[in-house]
Every structure is written in structure tokens, then in C-alpha cells.
Amino acid sequence: MSELKTIFQKSQKGQRAYSLPTDGEAFDAFTPPAELLRTAPPELPEVSEIDLTRHFADLAKRTVGIDNIFYPLGSCTMKLNPRVNELCASLPGFTRTHPLAPDKSVQGNLKVIHELISMLCEVSGMTAGSLTPNAGAQGEFAGVRMITAYHHRRGDHARTEMLVPDNAHGTNPATAAMAGLKAVAIRTDATGDLDMDHLKSLLSERTAGLMLTNPNTLGLFSPRISAITQLVHNTGGLLFYDGANLNAILNIVRPGDMGFDVMHLNLHKTFSTPHGGGGPGSGPVLCKDRLKAFLPLPRVVVKNNSYQVVWKDRRSIGQIASFHGNFAIYLRAYAYCKAHGYAGLRRVGEQAVLNANYLKKQMGQYFTIPYPQSCMHEFVVQADRYLDRGVRALDIAKRLLDYGVYAPTIYFPLIIRECMLIEPTECESQATLDRFIAIFGQIVKEIESDPELVRSAPHRQFVSRLNEAQAARKPILKTSLCTQEV
């Protein structure tokens, strides 16, 4: 008999949690037309409030967040999600505002939007922006759409290609494809930088632009970035900056100064908004003057000393979200920016880079470091030396879970064999970093003496290694009241 029950299996006839106001017979006269009614009630479980409460407490017990353990996930920037931001976001003065409320009645919200865009522009070297994209991928989509709109407005319809490094995050080529462009991959050279010769050979009058992040997904800052952006501009293309790695250079180097025309940010990375198990995030798009006409709607402007919402502008690419985007998320980022000030944001970037380099130095005793130069906020190591013991990066990642730390990002970027991408963020203390190194020391000893222990990890979780192949082969994507749960 299995202990694991979904909420559907906990149903008991007639039990319930809800309550509803009753207003007597006034409303009884109004009955919906019978032919429109569903023939049977939805097959949902009947559960009391105490059982629902315990069910979710049990689910929480079998999950961990940044609040619980160290999460050195490269490319994810798993920093503390400050609780003061949660308090701010739950103020009824914010939660009770309707997105279509008259402008005069939501001046607080509009102030937040306007000011946050200003602050984000200031640290990015951009002049305008929109907070409506609901996640990084949507911010990328907005930015790429703006680039194509720019070219089309100039009468140039030949630019159908978007250049993307081969180590780029998957959302970059996926976004290019969604925007109707052909994603063309540029090779990475031996130093971990963009291959300049390959880039030059791919630039043409068909190039809409180049999508780049800097530092890149290997954690390396290109010493040639200005030359790269200039090259692309010279051929008439535009530059899109993927802001996922902004934590490394926050208020230290600005994408606008590097030559980028448009960019997105991940507020759930750099700006501490909570990951929530996979979202909601927020992916603002920011740009320089020559693209600002194309920014998505709606926009917040200042007119006659008050804030107003603009819903129509023919040059805009249009709406990208149903309303103002994930307002309650970027509200948290607003509080974060105000708390830090520009001075604090600067400290974030510097500390993130210091913490990462410290870790990288220590990791060298256990792993191959493919790029020996100084890294930024994250770095790549390779676990390939353990392959002859039958141990892969995946196995080491699973064994880390048993030691109470989350595994780093594995097998990304795709171009590095048995790689782990590690990002400590600025938040972690020296003790946490030292403990992380010590854990690897332990695991490496285990690989020597008992590799099977590592190959079959994890051992101390609620489940052992899960069969992902089976899940894909025989998809079971839901349960129901009728399902015989074994």
C-alpha cells in the first residue's frame, strides 16, 4: 500500500471547507436557464478545511526553497526573497486595485510603475521601458518584436535572421522563432568569448540583430563587447541584451553603455522577487530612444502633474499581457530597489562577483575549470574526470541533495561536457560557501571509495531517483476521483 495520496484520494462524502453569504429570498427568483447547466457537478474532491490545511502542509514538507537551503543554481540568481517585500505587496491599497480603474484613483500604482522604470533605466543605461512582459521570455519576445518593428518601419523587410550564441539560454532562439526570425547560432571560441570571425561571417543585410548576454552563460565578461556591438550596428543590425545575468554588473557596467539598443530584465532573478516554484516572474523590456515608440502598451506617462495610462499608440507593437503585467511582482522589485538605493545595488554586484570567484578558486581542487580567467557572478566547472568511475555531473547533483544543498545547474550551457554552472549570489555567507566546498570534498571521497552510492543518489529524500523516461513514455498527467490510486 502506498502512502502517497493526492487530494483527490482524500475526498470524503459531504465534507467541505467553503462558506458563502446568504441573502434570503431576494435572489432566489433568478434561476439560470436549465439547458445551459452542466449535467453533473465537477468531479472535485470533498475535503474539510483542516484536511486541506494538512494536505498543503504535507506538500510543503516535501519541497524546499531558498528560505531552507543554499541554491547555487547558475543562471537563476537564487538570492533571498525579502519578507518585507511580501508585506508591501499584500497591502490592501495595492491588492484591491482593478487594472481598469480610473487613472485618478490609482495614482499610487502608476507612481510605482513610472518610478521603477526610471530606476531600472538608470542602472541599465536605457531611456524608456515597459513592465508588462510577464516573464523573461516575454520580455525577450517584446524586445525582438520591437527590433523587427523598427526595421519594418524603415521599409527594410529583408532582415529575417537573428544571431544567437551557441551557449545562449534556450528562450533566445525560441523567442526568435516565435517572432518569425531564423535563429542563427554563433560559435564560442576557446577563451569562452563570442567567436569574432564566425560573427563577422554571419553578419549580412539579412541580420535583424544579435541577442547576447554579457557576462555570458559561462559567467565570462567579454573584453571586446564594445567592438561586437559596433560591428553589428555597422551592418544595420540592432543589439538585444538578455538581462538574466545582470546581477554580476548591477550598477557597475550598463548594457546601454556597452552598445545595446534594447534589453529585458528578470525581476525574479536580479531583483529578488520570489520564484514561487516556477513563477510568476516579471520580464521588463527597456530600450533607448530610437526604439521607444515601439514599446508595448499600456504605458504610464506624466501629464498635468499626474500619472496617466495610455492604451493606444499606433507605432507600438501593442499589448503583450492582458493588463499591466505582473504588477504585484514588480511592486516587490520596486521595494527592493528603494531599500538598496543605487549604492546598495552596486554592493550587490560586487559581492556577487567576489563570492563567485572565491568559490571558483576552491572548486579547482575537485573539478576541471575550463576557463581559468576571473569569472563574474557565476562559473562553469566540469565533472568529466569522474566519468571513469561511472559518475556523471547528474549523479553528483543528486548526491548534493542528500547533503542539504540544492544542485547547481547541470548540462547548461550545452557546449560544455559534464558541466555544472554555479552561482552563489551576493547573499551567501563565507560559512555557507566553505561548507559547500567541504561537501564536494566528501562527495569526491565517496566517488573514490563507493561510487555506486553517488551513482544511485539521492538517498535521503522522500523519493529516490525518479524514472523520467517512464513519465514521458507513458504520460499520466492528472488524477481524478475515479482513478484507482494504488
Binding site: Y18, E43, A177, H275, G277, S464, L466, A471
Partner: protein, 448 residues
């Protein structure tokens, strides 16, 4: 303030280990001209100052002081207290995407249960773990239909689909070479069936209908989908999921894809987000689903567990060939919806939908009896309805607002034919006293 742990003492140690003496040396590989100088003074705030600032900002919003009757895709419903209690738990709030499933079983099971509840409500076979919002869900559904019928180039959309949703669809379709046909509505406020017949052909990949539609009317969905089926167009139904507590499920109405926004369950208005897009499909559309999906499996001891599955559809594996570029979705918001939907349960869902229906019907009936007010149409509505005032709307609004009522959404900016009309939503949050107050003020507004 900041949340950096290491201070001078620790940083001295870290820098010594690296053989450097200052932070600047860490950036020696960066072009000099790109480096900004450090801010001279600390412009940060203490925690209490942050709170004070945000509380003051929230107070600048006068809207929460009003009795408000706005709907149009964002609805004010009771959020059960349990929702906040669950969603603020550390483990859910601060967890990452469950790519390491062994340590994220609770989160994965929650998403699995959300998928299951959406299927139970809509009657469909499978659902994903959420999309950004109802607008994105509609757009992705059309893209799914286009992949299902790769040779077809026409898409048919109801003119009473939420106008913002239509905007987002246009965004997603902007690079596709397509014909998008919009079908108008009749005097009842429902889709013009003759108009639909005129645009359906064997080139039609999809028919997208919203019911209740933007003006609150319940559409003749079965009839619309029967026509769509005759040309094998993919039948997409966009619906407020609360309506499924009472009215026919998407499955009973013969939809192929059910989409919408589950914001009415568990999510406050929050000025438009985060909300939750849902997409649920018939079996045959599984491989085309965008976004994350949780599936059931076993561990090496045969114990039941959950994982993200069918990831080969997604951007991190398929890159430019992915079904969508979506990565981060709305997981925590979906959890909020899940808790609320379970809190109501089957009986509560029905009663909740019924009381929403009744309060709206009551208000609509009483208002229709007032001279100077004309209903938009006579078809049944759920949760909201539109009506015209003969008196200038500017004065009507002023009168209501003096009574601290925001009476509804002026519709003139969406369509010239709708100038002078309001879209009015009444939910279970409105007591009979409040509704009667509205009616009283409306009587004055209509006559003066």
C-alpha cells in the same frame, strides 16, 4: 539596507584567498570606459522606511475605498484565508522550478493537482501547469491549432473576445502569414451565426469563442462548434472558470481546447497581475501543449512520484523548435487558484457560481426597469452585463462617484457603438444592501 551576509571581516578573507586587495581588481577584465564609479553616498533605506514609503504609496490609491463594479477579465471575489497561508509558506514561495524532482515532490504534486482540477472543471483530458494569463492562453491555443493544421491559413475569432486578449493574440500571430476573420454579434449580444457560416471554410484552422463573452453574454457554444466541426477547425473555448461551476463544461460543449484565466479563484485584483492562464485539451493535442507539464512516475523503489515531463516540447531542449518560448510560468499563482478551487469543492463551486449569477441577474433586472437605462441585449449573462444610459455618461459617473461607487467600465473606448454604455460586474462580494444602493443611485442618475 541590503541582504549581503559577508562583511569586512569575511571579505578580507575572501580577497586574501584570491590574492587581491580590492573589489575593483575583480573587474580588471572589463573595459575601463565601461565601469561606472561607485555611488558616493548611501541612498538606501532601512526596513521601516521602506514600509513607510510603500504604505504611503498604497494610500495614494483611492480606488479601494469605493464600492466597485468593474469586471472585464479581472474580478473581485473572496480570496479564502487559506490561500495566503499556503502561498506564503517558505517552501512554496521561495522554491525554484522543480527541475530536481526528488527534492521538489510537494511542489510537483501541487502542480499535478492543479492540472487535475482544471481537467475536472473543464471536462478535458489534460492540462498544463499554467501560462501567463488568459490572453496568452488564447494566443497559444491558436498557435496549437495552426500546428495541428499546418496547411491552413485562416483563423476565426469572435468580436466579443476580450479586446485585450485579441491584442495579445495579434502580437503572437504578427509574424504568421494568416487571415484572421472576426465574426460580429447579434441583437441578443451573441455571436452572429450567419456571419460565422460565411467565414468558415476548409482553410479555417481554428474558431475561438469566449463564453461568457466580453459583455457577459453566454454564447450558443454548441451550435458554433458544430459549424466549426463541419470544416474540422479546432474548437477553442475561452471561459471564466467560475462559470463551469454551474454551466456546461467545455467538454460538454464539444471544445477541443479550453483556455482562460483562473484569477477569479484565489487571486486578488492586484492591478492586473499576477493572474493565471489555463489551457486544457483533448488527448490528441498533448504533444502540442506549450509550457511545463507535471507527470506521474515511480522512483527506483517503485514509489509513486512526480516529475516535469514531455520536456522535449520546451525551449530548454528544443530551442527554436519548441512549442513556445515560455520558461517561467505562473506556478505560485496557480497554487493560489488550486487552494481556492479545493476550498470551494464541487458543491461550493456550484453555489458560488449560482450566487454570482443571481446577484448579477438581480442587479440587471432592477436596472432594466429604470427609465433612461437600456440593456445591451437580452441573452442570459454570467457575472457581468452591459447597459446604456440615455443621460451623458460623464454626469452619471460623477453622481455614482459622489456616492463612493465605481459603477462599471465605460465601454466607449472599445467600440464607437458602445459610447454611453457601462460594463457592470456584480460578484458574491456585493451584499443586497450594496446592490440596492447602486440601484437607488442609478435611478437618480438616469432621471436627472
Amino acid at each position: 539596507m541590503d541582504f549581503i551576509s559577508n562583511r569586512e571581516e569575511q571579505n578580507r578573507h575572501l580577497m586574501a584567498a584570491l590574492g587581491i586587495e580590492s573589489m575593483e581588481e575583480l573587474f580588471s577584465g572589463v573595459q575601463r570606459s565601461l565601469l561606472r564609479s561607485r555611488p558616493v553616498s548611501d541612498d538606501g533605506l532601512s526596513e521601516l522606511e521602506v514600509l513607510r514609503l510603500l504604505e504611503g504609496t498604497a494610500e495614494k490609491n483611492r480606488f479601494p475605498l469605493f464600492d466597485q463594479y468593474l469586471g472585464a477579465g479581472a474580478y473581485q471575489h473572496h480570496v479564502p484565508a487559506l490561500v495566503q497561508a499556503v502561498c506564503s509558506k517558505s517552501e512554496f514561495l521561495t522554491a525554484y522550478t522543480p527541475y530536481q524532482p526528488e527534492i521538489s515532490q510537494g511542489m510537483l504534486q501541487a502542480i499535478f493537482e492543479y492540472q487535475s482540477v482544471i481537467c475536472a472543471l473543464t471536462g478535458m483530458d489534460m492540462a498544463n501547469g499554467s501560462l501567463y494569463d488568459g490572453a496568452a492562453a488564447c494566443a497559444e491555443a491558436i498557435l496549437m491549432a495552426l500546428r495541428h493544421h499546418p496547411q491552413r491559413r485562416r483563423v476565426v475569432i469572435s468580436s466579443l473576445l476580450h479586446p485585450h486578449y485579441r491584442q495579445v493574440i495579434n502580437q503572437y500571430l504578427s509574424s504568421h502569414d494568416l487571415e484572421v476573420k472576426t465574426v460580429g454579434y447579434d441583437a441578443e449580444g451573441q455571436l452572429d451565426l450567419a456571419g460565422l457560416s460565411r467565414v468558415l471554410n476548409d482553410q479555417t484552422a481554428a474558431v475561438l469563442l469566449q463564453s461568457p463573452n466580453f459583455l457577459g453574454f453566454l454564447e450558443p457554444v454548441k451550435e458554433v462548434f458544430e459549424k466549426a466541426d463541419q470544416v474540422s477547425a479546432v474548437r477553442i473555448l475561452c471561459a471564466n472558470p467560475m462559470s463551469y461551476g454551474l454551466f456546461s463544461s467545455a467538454r460538454e460543449l464539444d471544445a477541443d481546447i479550453a483556455v482562460g484565466d483562473s484569477q477569479p479563484f484565489g487571486l486578488p485584483l492586484q492591478f492586473g497581475g499576477p493572474y493565471v492562464g489555463y489551457v486544457a485539451v483533448r488527448e490528441g493535442f498533448l504533444r502540442q501543449l506549450p509550457g511545463r507539464i507535471v507527470g506521474e512516475t515511480v522512483d527506483s523503489n517503485g514509489k509513486r512520484g512526480f516529475v516535469l515531463t514531455l520536456q522535449a516540447r520546451e525551449q530548454h531542449i528544443r530551442r527554436e523548435k519548441a512549442t513556445s518560448n515560455i520558461c517561467t510560468n505562473q506556478t505560485l499563482a496557480a497554487l493560489a487558484s488550486l487552494v481556492a478551487m479545493l476550498w470551494y469543492g464541487p458543491e461550493g463551486m456550484r453555489r458560488l457560481a449560482l450566487t454570482n449569477y443571481q446577484r448579477t441577474a438581480y442587479l440587471r433586472q432592477k436596472l432594466s426597469e429604470i427609465p433612461g437605462i437600456r440593456l445591451f441585449g437580452t441573452a442570459p449573462v454570467f457575472n457581468e452585463f452591459a447597459l446604456f444610459f440615455d443621460r451623458p455618461l460623464v454626469r452619471v459617473l460623477r453622481l455614482f462617484r459622489k456616492e463612493r461607487i465605481e459603477p462599471g467600465l465605460p465601454l466607449g473606448r472599445y467600440d464607437r457603438r458602445w459610447v454611453g454604455a457601462l460594463l457592470i460586474a456584480a460578484t458574491e462580494m456585493k451584499s443586497k444592501e450594496q446592490l440596492d444602493h447602486y440601484i437607488e443611485v442609478a435611478r437618480q442618475a438616469a432621471s436627472r
